[in-house]
Subunit: 245 residues, 4 copies
DNA sequence: AATGAATGAGCGTTCATTCAT
DNA sequence: GATGAATGAACGCTCATTCAT
């Protein structure tokens, strides 16, 4: 067993190595700058060896997306452990998303690409299922918090879909906003007078939740203070690294 | 004058032909599936001829993006002519966006790509300015409606950036939601119980505006009826075509 | 007759215009940078019109070469009018060559190209004969001076080919030296300690003529002074323009 | 070791194959006639394979130029081993040049092209240095022989640059003469009565050296006999092959 | 006579993938 | 299992030349 296990470990390590090199290439040079030749040169193994781990280029991309999704889920779940009222814990998830986008911008770049037909078409069923499972986890964190809010009487709704509605609303708003900001194709400062899009996103999150009547309303509660506490209590390391960079 | 005009007309028509073929290729096969050879084969002119209209592949893409942006602006401006209270007219802009995404899904696909560094880098200054001017028009429609709302006392705000905040909030939410839905990378029905993401988007729009305290609140006013009226009074043709498809 | 003549004059002028634009392009951007499109854009006539003057790109090149050859012949013939001993007049031809290469470097660049099979193959017999006639003139200047030298008893030879031998020797040496210097592919200063290749060429000219025993030998006569006088008496304008540049 | 060595040998052989095919294309059809497609078709490997040996077309050309320069250096160095007086050994270098131009006319054609900015610009520093080193070797053979001549008292000069002057003089004369002859753009026989330009070049070499006063003068010594002996003693194989062709 | 839109063969180059060793 | 040489289809782009108007 010893040998086999070591071999398996080596294989897993090499897989990680391939993915980390591929991510760096993606970040630095974009999707077209990620080539099998460059990956092979960087990992100091041959191209053939890469194909023993990933059956095609797209599978590498899926591997990256999986790591990104895992990271997101982990951060979301940690955010939900914050000790506070449900809406505060949901604000914490917003902090997690902010950290993800700013501390690991590569991950966000990859999550974008994976939403493309031409790439998804080449992925195996298994890989797709894996990715979905991960996203499922993220969604469950949010819908769970909405239900916690309902259980505590902070939010009332008749439509049983409301948790999903809110989850989708927050997700789409964050995804859209981060995409627009990341692209840099619109000069938000000049055109919209928006200097810090994260702050705007934060405000719109809360206006949306206010719209759903979720207590305490942002007009009555200092969610900036909540963010502060989440940063200190749940993500001290991440915040430090982000400040340092 | 006759001859010259006919030639010029032919040229303009061919430019449109190139763009329409290119758009279809983009939609069907993605950016990498859009090749000069395929366009040439489809339009039944030679590749050289294409290059007399567009200096490089990216310029074709910009041409597509421009058409899309123009269309969006036109629809937005028409929506704003709806006779009703400001928030109703803003709801009309939502209708315009919905029509755009559903009646011309290709346009949305292209608006995504143009937000990419590697593509923008190859565009001429002139083309970029053209594109920005168009987007500026769309933004102004929305911020204008917010200010109309304030003028009529339907919404109150101290922060002068509020119109921009709302514009960005609606834009990012719509952009994100449409992107997620278009990609098909998440089975919204199965995973979130969301059968009609447009309806969800509609609800979240209004929850957001409710959150900003914009009267009349969606809990007190039937904005579905407003949508109905906008469809009938401002976009009767578009709605008919959408139903037919 | 008036109209026709005016037309002919216009045609000749346009031909000159085409050639001057083509020469500039050749100089600035090399043979591959000379394209019919660029020429057409520059002369503000259409490409079709160019083809009414020149049947193909190579014919334009031949036109340039002809102008260059004409210029060379003219300068050589003027040099031969210098009042001095035959060998001094031959030194004057050296001055003419130096002026040509330095005052009109474009001409030299073109003379190089025209010695290429792939280009000559596309030229008409007529054009080729025209070019040869011009070069013939240059050669005759030199062989004529050698015969003058013999007639005056400054040089003696039995072999009747000697004038041609000397002409070829000077020509090949000048052509080779100017080519090497123009290419800049060898750092003459660093590799050979040659700062001024024109001066070296001058010295080698005279060593060659000394080798043929042509009186007065360069060891006995100050040919630098001859050069000075030729410059002042035959080429005052050219020298001034060269100094100014 | 066997396997590896065989592979490496195959690769080296293929590199030679590419170069020899490329040289033939260059000779037959000129630089523009040398295309990657033709090379690939001729060597019966794919275009991709060529790019594993040479990163661009220009690098192939540099490869050819290097081979040519190496060959020249080798022949020059062998010529300098001839047992005779320094000027005789220099005459031997003339024989080497003659053999090079006539036995390997392709090499000469390539040496011409490599003196072009547009080509040199695409070469790596390393390749350029390699080429220069080779040319340096050729030059040193000649300047070395001049200094030998001075050491033996056969030639006297005050100017320390004299060896470089003579080297440049011979080089430029040979380069120019071979270029003119190779181009075929001038009918030397008809226009100049020159049937054998090599013989003319030989005579002008010696007139130049006579002009420098290098003993024994060509009027006092039978350098044709020297050439004969060099051919027999130093280049017997080459002469035989040249006769056979 | 003048135009310039149209051509189309051709170019150098790239890169995911395969497979003999 | 690991290699990397070989592949070859595909790519974006160029430009001398033609010819209907």
């Amino acid at each position: 067993m010893g040998t086999l296990t070591r071999k398996q470990r080596e294989i897993a390590e090499r897989e990680d190595l391939i993915l980390s090199v591929a991510r760096q290439l993606m970040v630095d040079q974009g999707y077209l700058g990620l080539t099998m030749d460059k990956v092979a040169a960087e990992i100091e193994y041959s191209k053939g060896t890469i194909y023993q781990h990933f059956s095609c280029k797209e599978e590498i991309l899926a591997g990256l997306a999986y790591e990104s999704a895992e990271l997101r889920r982990e951060l979301f779940e940690r955010a939900a452990t914050f000790r506070g009222r449900p809406r505060e814990r949901l604000a914490g998830v917003g902090v997690a998303d902010h950290l993800l986008v700013n501390l690991y911008p590569q991950h966000f770049a990859i999550e974008r690409l994976i939403h493309t037909h031409s790439i998804r078409d080449k992925l195996s069923e298994k890989r797709l299922a894996q990715l979905e499972a991960c996203n499922e986890g993220c969604k469950n964190v949010i819908t769970g918090l909405v239900r916690d809010g309902a259980a505590q009487g902070d939010i009332e709704y008749d439509d049983p879909q409301t948790p999903a509605l809110i989850a989708f609303g927050l997700w789409s708003m964050a995804f859209g906003a981060n995409l627009i900001a990341a692209a840099g194709s619109v000069d938000l400062e000049e055109k919209l007078g928006i200097a810090d899009h994260s702050e705007v996103l934060f405000q719109n999150y809360h206006r949306l939740l206010d719209g759903y009547g979720w207590q305490p309303l942002s007009t009555e509660w200092d969610y900036h203070a909540t963010v502060q506490r989440v940063q200190e209590e749940v993500f001290p390391d991440e915040v430090r690294r982000l400040s340092a960079s």
